[in-house]
């Protein structure tokens, strides 16, 4: 009985806190961890531009967390107007499990719906004492590699696949599993998220090399003061595409379809691309890319679609229960 009264009370609170549709528009952007700094700038720039264009005031609320966790929250009812996540697989799941947007969402915006891209690079301690220059240096004895667990972190899957892709390319597909097993044998701490790994490497002094998104590596050197770490760009790495999408069912409900769409389109404009490049993501716009060419080293990039047959396939083969990643750790313990 008391429980029912309590529940009734909570429901009435729920009703009281439900949003009121005012003239001013509010968007909810559900994003992943490393984009906080990026969207802080982009949101403000877009709001100013939208105000000048339509006279409406738009407020963009931000939610950040692990990419998979954020996708789950949207599936379970977090009413995101737009999602900007670490990998397409997470948005695929929103389309598949909750049917909040069509399965073909990735075709709706240019460049696979990714207004910016990045890649996986190495962060090493100043002076590069272990002489780490490419992927094959990571499997040497006595090298400590810091990378998060691909089973609990979306970003870490890019790291893992980048290593796998390098091995396939240089050693052949048959040797890839062996190479990656050796690499993970050198991992002393397997954090649950990308930022946890960065902290373990930067603050706790663990390991000799951190596998990280390029933008994260730049940010970490920036925050820690440039004299403690160096960025090493390997000969080949993976094209990491963090996609964006409008969540159709939610914008329908909120009546925000137009502004949500405009926000994502805005990300492709030169003004936004400038901000993107300044926050260490690689811009898509050729002019902006040329301007910042000095900041981003050229390297050979392979893609998830061409080399791994897309996310769904990579996910089942590598990261599902009993998949290759699990086998690697099983083997290490036997």
């Amino acid at each position: 009985m008391r429980a029912i009264v309590g529940l009734g009370l909570l429901l009435s609170i729920a009703a009281a806190t439900a949003p009121v549709h005012a003239a001013d528009v509010t968007l909810l952007n559900v994003s992943y961890d490393p984009t906080r700094e990026l969207y802080k700038d982009l949101d403000a720039a877009f709001a100013a531009q939208w105000k000048a264009k339509s006279g409406d005031t738009v407020t963009i609320n931000q939610s950040h967390g692990g990419s998979g966790k954020q996708a789950r929250s949207v599936i379970d009812g977090l009413e995101a107007d737009v999602v900007t996540l670490a990998l397409a697989y997470d948005i695929d799941e929103i389309a598949d499990k909750a049917k909040l947007l069509p399965a073909t969402w990735q075709k709706r915006l240019p460049n696979n719906s990714t207004p910016y891209y990045s890649t996986i690079v190495f962060l090493v301690r100043k002076g590069n004492p272990k002489g780490i220059h490419d992927w094959n240096d990571l499997v040497k004895d006595g090298v400590g590699v810091i990378t998060p667990n691909p089973k609990s972190s979306g970003g870490a899957r890019w790291n893992y696949l980048a290593a796998w892709g390098y091995a396939t390319k240089t050693l052949g597909a048959a040797k890839a599993k062996d190479f990656v097993t050796k690499l993970y044998h050198n991992v002393p701490v397997l954090d649950s998220g990308a930022r946890g790994s960065t902290t373990t490497f930067v603050e706790r002094g663990q390991g000799d090399v951190l596998l990280a998104w390029e933008n994260e590596a730049y940010l970490a050197t920036h925050e820690a003061g440039g004299d403690k770490f160096e960025i090493v760009t390997p000969s080949v790495s993976i094209l990491a595409e963090p996609p964006v999408a409008v969540v159709d069912k939610n914008v329908e409900k909120h009546g925000t379809a137009k502004v949500a769409e405009a926000f994502l389109r805005y990300l492709y404009t030169p003004a936004a691309q400038e901000i993107i490049a300044k926050d260490f993501y690689r811009p898509r716009d050729p002019a902006v890319a040329a301007k910042y060419a000095g900041a981003f080293k050229n390297l050979q990039l392979f893609t998830i679609d061409r080399n791994f047959g897309g996310w769904t396939k990579a996910q089942t083969a590598h990261f599902a229960d009993g998949g290759l990643f699990d086998q690697i750790f099983e083997a290490a313990k036997r």
Binding site: A3, G6, G66, G68, K69, R72, I75, E93, K97, N149, K151, S152, S153, V187, P188, V189, L190, D191, S192, G196, T200, E203, R204, G205, Q206, F319, A320, D321, G322, D326, F329, E330, A332, K333
Partner: protein, 249 residues
């Protein structure tokens, strides 16, 4: 009630899983290793807390010293500090470049020992706070009687004080243990999270969720719940039996 209704959701969700799948997820070798670490570290931490918690409670109840009130308030700190903050602070302390870690000849953070350290921190108030009232309640007269009968201080403690506080101590142990088994926030920072080595069971739940496998997650949760519930019931039954025995005397 408030506990049962939400918890039933776990079991109903798990029931959607076939038996074979359940075994594959919840009883895999990796899961078993994680249970061993979670339950083992929780038991060890609770045991450490039982010893030192009793000591702290004894000192707080029986002795007077400067700053006692501050110390007493400090005991509740682990309740108040968010577990993530506790985890970050402990990791910073015990990491090889931390205040304590740099003094120790062996590694604590990022090793299974780190899990025990975190769980000891989390569980201490449970033991101290359950033992304290009983110790305070225990009159000096019984001890005096024992002493007048010629019992030494140690004998008095062992024969008179210990049996009296034992039920409370066991309750404290049980609570600290129960809390330790499920603890996530503080542990993930300080454990190395390596499968088979320093990976705790709650982390496996998170990983199942990350694969959008809610059923797998609830399967592990249900297994852990059943085990902790069985242990808690055993402890509480033991206590009820003990109380009846005491009453009969």
């Amino acid at each position: 009630m408030i506990v049962l209704l939400p918890l039933s959701a776990i079991f109903i969700k798990t029931a959607g899983l076939g038996w074979r799948e359940f075994v594959a997820v919840a009883l895999s070798r990796r899961a078993l290793a994680a249970y061993r670490l979670s339950f083992g570290a929780a038991a060890l931490a609770a045991a450490i807390n039982a010893v030192f918690g009793l000591l702290v409670a004894w000192v707080l109840v029986r002795y007077d010293f400067a700053g006692k009130r501050v110390v007493s308030a400090l005991v509740d700190l682990p309740f108040a500090l968010p577990t993530a903050v506790a985890g970050i602070a402990l990791t910073a302390l015990y990491a090889p470049n931390g205040w304590i870690g740099s003094l120790l000849p062996f590694k604590v953070a990022f090793e299974p020992v780190g899990v025990v350290v975190a769980l000891t921190f989390i569980g201490l108030p449970f033991v101290v706070r359950t033992v304290e009232p009983v110790l305070a309640d225990l009159g000096a007269d019984v001890e005096e009687a024992a002493a007048s009968l010629g019992a030494g201080r140690w004998t008095t403690f062992r024969r008179v004080v210990l049996p009296a506080v034992l039920p409370a101590l066991v309750t404290g142990f049980a609570l600290a243990f129960a809390r330790g088994v499920g603890e996530y926030g503080s542990v993930i920072f300080i454990a190395g999270n390596l499968p088979f080595r320093s990976e705790i069971a709650p982390l496996l739940i998170v990983q199942q969720l990350e694969q959008y496998n809610y059923r797998g997650a609830t399967a592990i949760a249900a297994t852990m719940l059943t085990a902790s519930f069985a242990i808690l019931v055993a402890i509480n039954l033991l206590q009820a039996w003990d109380r009846r025995k005491m009453a009969a005397l």
